[in-house]
């Protein structure tokens, strides 16, 4: 029944967050916590030869100073992937808690544990490390050259992984006479998640176990990784996740939980708190992979795509984190978004001496979408084709099935989304109006499509565990290992539980906090999968719970079970619609029965062996001031098909956030490094140009609701997709305005100056 889903219910956590009562990690910190601070590497690549900690230890209030020479000799992986029991598919274990071989400026070398943060900070400044410096490399192609600095002993050549895709016969196909070749190099920057709450964690020991309270998206995974890093049984670790102040993928990694957990064991189990400073968040957490993409397309005069080649170099930075899976996701999309009979693809994930790249909203897709959708417009430019018509002809058509995942394009989604966007933007009026402009200020309109896969099947088996408990008043306590990180899944879950079980929405109590001692197993928030898999877990568990409830109703009322139903918290005799009793009366009677007592609960794990494509388009309009080298975004619209909406208002809000991130990616955000030293140059929120309130036009959102057939609630990915097409849509709008193809982002005045000069639009 669809009574509560599909409507804009108020967020379940809105009141607590609007009043400041919602508790985040630091809000739960007990008095008397010890403070941990980290001494980070002051060189970009080399070995720590020795560390003098005596001055640091002498600071009043310092409890302990520990260094890379003290940590367990264990290398561990950090990626928030589900673990694989197959050693060939396990994440790369390439770091220790503190490292002697330092691989980027900011690597973790030593820690101070002190009674207060002032003492800890002073002590960190007094640590003296001696290094043997080595040459470093920042570029993802130079790192593969012979003679490049070697970053990991166990990975000679710095090539973390390489994957290839072959469809048809590229070499033969390009021999066709008359083909037109279009080639481009596309570069995307290193950017950071910039959730407003920095990652924070505290740990202490209780009953011989380690309790870790962390700002994480993946509590159950962090438990496993902490166990691995410390070399202790995983059951000895308990991870608690309260509300978190955003994650966007950065917190889909074990960040400082293992180190803080180890720290507590070094001070007799006393509570140790560590909180990243903003400058550390930028450099010593995770960043988005900067990916360089090289595309060559061979097309006929009418635009028919005959063959394509795609090469990608993904800058993974100092440690593997999510490894190859990020560029692999993007690379896999190239021959799917625009199916082509002959394709040759290769993707490299490489180590460099930059901060570690990991998961970030979009997971390889914003990078690849920027390349592919910019390239698509370049094809149109070269052939003189209409960018919309060309996309209608060449984008993934209805009925497309991916051979690997068996995912299917069930509807004519791209055309539907394009139609809607054209109408809302009045696209063709603008497109014609903006032809043949000559002045210094020019307007342009651009479009970009996007593709996104919900969840990770068949890379790994998805599961979702759900527990439901009927309280004495007939309300439902709901728990899952899938996590609320701000996106609103707790609210969507509540709506789905109300519909699936048959109770009023206000009778669903979602337990937002995950505690690995209590919460059913779940891998957490990533891959835009929470609503998709939650819908399956909830449906399965609700079926079990309803069966139990109706059996008890049968026992209590003597009515045949076939005539009973649970509707909006009431047991109904379906034959005449009479209300026999409320669920509250049933549960109370059942629990306190003198003859047949039941605590009515259900717990189920569903296995998910399906996956869904999520699609849409983005339209952008810009005004470009050529002499000033400024591009101003004047209008932007995302059109999404993410299936049936569970909560339209929250869905729209999710899209706003993704679009905002995409705008920053397109126009302003970039973490910069000094080429001479490898030092980060702008790791703070003043110099790193995060979009502010003044950098956005109104964010417009529209939906096409094609129910996803593989999901009981018809839903699919929405968390990450909105961020994917924005940069390319803006880039294509700038091209429409100026006829200049810009293949790098962010498209800031520095870039525009160079490009406009080369194009002869301005004089040097």
């Amino acid at each position: 029944m669809r009574k509560y889903t599909g409507k804009s219910a108020i967020r379940v956590d809105a009141y607590d967050k609007a009043t400041g009562r919602a508790k985040y990690v630091e809000d739960l910190l007990p008095d008397g916590a010890l403070v941990m601070k980290i001494y980070h590497s002051k060189i970009t690549h080399g070995y720590v030869k020795s560390i003098d900690t005596s001055a640091a230890e002498a600071v009043p209030g310092v409890v302990k100073v520990l260094t890379c020479f003290d940590v367990p000799d264990i290398q561990f992986p950090t990626s928030g992937h589900p673990w694989s029991t197959d050693p060939h598919h396990q994440d790369v274990a390439d770091r220790k808690l503190l490292n002697q071989h330092v691989r980027y400026y900011g690597d973790d070398v030593a820690i101070v544990i002190a009674e207060n943060s002032v003492a800890a900070t002073q002590a960190v400044r007094l640590i003296k490390a001696e290094y043997e410096e080595l040459p470093f490399v920042l570029d993802p192609q130079k790192t593969l050259e012979p003679g490049a600095p070697q970053i990991h002993e166990e990975c000679p050549g710095n090539l973390l992984a390489k994957s290839e895709t072959h469809i048809g016969n590229y070499e033969e196909a390009i021999k066709e006479p008359g083909l037109i070749k279009i080639e481009g190099w596309y570069n995307t920057p290193t950017v950071q998640h910039c959730h407003i709450e920095n990652h924070g964690v505290y740990a202490y020991q209780e009953n011989g176990r380690i309790v870790v309270v962390s700002s994480t998206q993946i509590p159950h995974i962090v438990r496993r990784i902490t166990g691995q890093a410390l070399g202790c049984p995983w059951g000895k670790v308990r991870v608690i996740k309260p509300y978190i102040g955003g994650g966007f993928g950065n917190k889909q990694d074990a960040l400082y939980e293992p180190l803080t957990a180890w720290a507590t064991t070094q001070v007799g189990g006393r509570l140790v708190h560590y909180e990243c400073e903003r400058e550390e968040t930028f450099v010593s957490n995770r960043v988005r992979h900067s990916i360089r993409t090289h595309l060559i397309s061979w097309v006929r005069e009418d635009g028919t795509l005959v063959a394509r080649k795609g090469e990608q170099w993904s800058n993974g930075g100092a440690y593997a984190s999510h490894g190859h899976s990020i560029v692999a996701k993007g690379a896999g999309s190239i021959p799917q978004l625009y199916p082509v009979p002959n394709y040759e693809g290769v993707a490299y994930s490489v180590y460099t001496n930059r901060p570690t790249a990991g998961a970030m909203r979009g997971y390889g897709m914003p990078q690849t979408t920027f390349a592919v959708e910019s390239h698509t417009d370049d094809i149109c430019k070269k052939l003189g084709l209409d960018p919309i018509d060309y996309r209608r002809k060449t984008l993934m058509p209805k009925g497309y099935v991916d051979g690997f995942s068996k995912n299917e394009m069930f509807e004519d989604t791209f055309n539907q989304c394009l139609d809607k966007g054209i109408e809302i933007m009045d696209y063709y009026t603008k497109f014609n109006e903006y032809k043949n402009q000559t002045g210094p200020i020019r307007k342009g309109i651009g479009v970009s499509a996007f593709w996104y896969n919900t969840a990770v099947w068949p890379i790994s088996l998805e599961s979702c565990s759900v527990r439901m408990i009927v309280n004495q008043d007939g309300s439902i306590q709901f728990q899952t290992g899938e996590t609320e990180i701000g996106q609103g899944c707790d609210t969507a879950y509540s709506q789905m539980v109300a519909d699936a079980v048959g109770v009023p929405l206000e009778d669903v109590h979602v337990v937002s906090c995950q505690d690995t001692d209590v919460t059913p197993y779940g891998t957490g928030a990533y891959a835009s999968r929470q609503t998709y898999i939650g819908a399956l877990g909830i449906s399965k568990c609700a079926t079990t719970l309803r069966r139990k409830i109706l059996e008890i109703a049968h026992n209590q009322t003597r009515m045949p079970i076939e005539t009973l139903d649970l509707v909006d918290g009431k047991i109904i005799r379906t034959t005449d619609g009479r209300v026999l009793k409320t669920l509250g009366d049933l549960a109370c009677e059942s629990l306190y029965s003198l003859e047949d007592s039941h605590h009515i609960t259900a717990e189920e794990t569903c296995q998910i062996k399906s996956n869904a494509y999520s699609f849409g388009v983005c339209f952008a309009e810009v005004e470009v001031d050529i002499p000033m080298c400024k591009a101003k975004l004047t209008r932007i619209l995302n059109v999404h098909d993410c299936g049936t909406l569970i909560n339209p208002q929250l869905a729209e809000a999710q899209v706003h956030g993704g679009m905002s991130m995409g705008i920053g990616y397109a126009l302003s955000e970039q973490l910069l490094f000094d080429e001479k030293t490898g030092k980060p140059l702008n790791n703070n929120l003043l110099d790193y140009k995060l979009s502010t309130f003044m950098d956005h036009p109104e964010l417009e959102v529209a939906f096409i609701e094609n129910a996803e057939p593989t999901n009981p609630f018809g839903t699919k990915a929405l968390g990450e997709p909105p961020a994917c097409p924005v940069a390319s849509a803006i880039r294509n709008a700038i091209r429409n305005a100026t006829d200049v193809s810009i293949n790098v982002c962010p498209i800031n005045p520095h870039v525009l100056y160079k490009e406009f000069t080369e194009a002869g639009l301005i004089e040097e």
């Binding site: 804009s8 967020r11 809105a14 400041g20 809000d27 001055a55 002032v118 709450e197 309130f693």
Partner: protein, 173 residues
């Protein structure tokens, strides 16, 4: 090494309508004092250098980043945090209610700071264009909402308070 004598000072100020006093480390920020000594946990820390706006409080009617304000400067001041906006029976203020209704809240970490600046805007009793509001609110960073619903919420609350002040009934939208 040189030993520093930690200096303490007693400050007296009004916090959310109540006169209070506290002896604090002279180096402490107002954020530290409000969080650690008064448990005003709505005051959030996102950068501690005045870049993000999450720690915003109202001091003598004016919003400020409490991370850039020494605790001892609170002497004699009237300081309000988000906690002051909630009614005695837990009623939400107009601006809080608007944030709830307009889905202007996601992770919620920037929310308290935003609401305090919005409250300051509302208390001016003036009308603003969208561009003016964007500028007034631009000291706050948010990564979840794209600011869109925050703008809607602030506009909604301004309108609601305006009608209330005029003693007129607000026409239904």
């Amino acid at each position: 090494m040189e030993k520093h004598q930690i200096q303490y000072q007693t400050v007296h100020f009004t916090l959310n309508g109540k006169e209070v006093e506290k002896t604090v480390d002279v180096r402490a920020s107002l954020t530290d004092m409000l969080r650690n000594d008064f448990h005003m946990l709505s005051v959030k820390k996102g950068c501690e250098v005045g870049e993000c706006g999450a720690c915003t409080v109202i001091i003598d009617g004016e919003t400020l980043n409490s991370c850039l304000y020494l605790a001892i400067w609170a002497e004699g001041k009237n300081i309000r945090t988000l906690e002051s906006l909630v009614g005695p029976n837990g009623e939400l203020s107009d601006i809080q209610q608007a944030f709830v209704e307009e889905a202007a809240i996601q992770c919620g970490f920037c929310t308290p700071g935003f609401i305090m600046t919005a409250q300051e805007i509302i208390e001016t009793g003036k009308e603003y264009t969208d561009d003016q509001l964007r500028k007034l609110l631009s000291g706050h960073l948010c990564r979840c909402t794209g600011y869109e619903n925050v703008l809607r919420a602030v506009k909604k609350a301004i309108k609601k308070v305006m009608y209330k002040r005029l003693g007129k009934e607000q026409p239904a939208e």
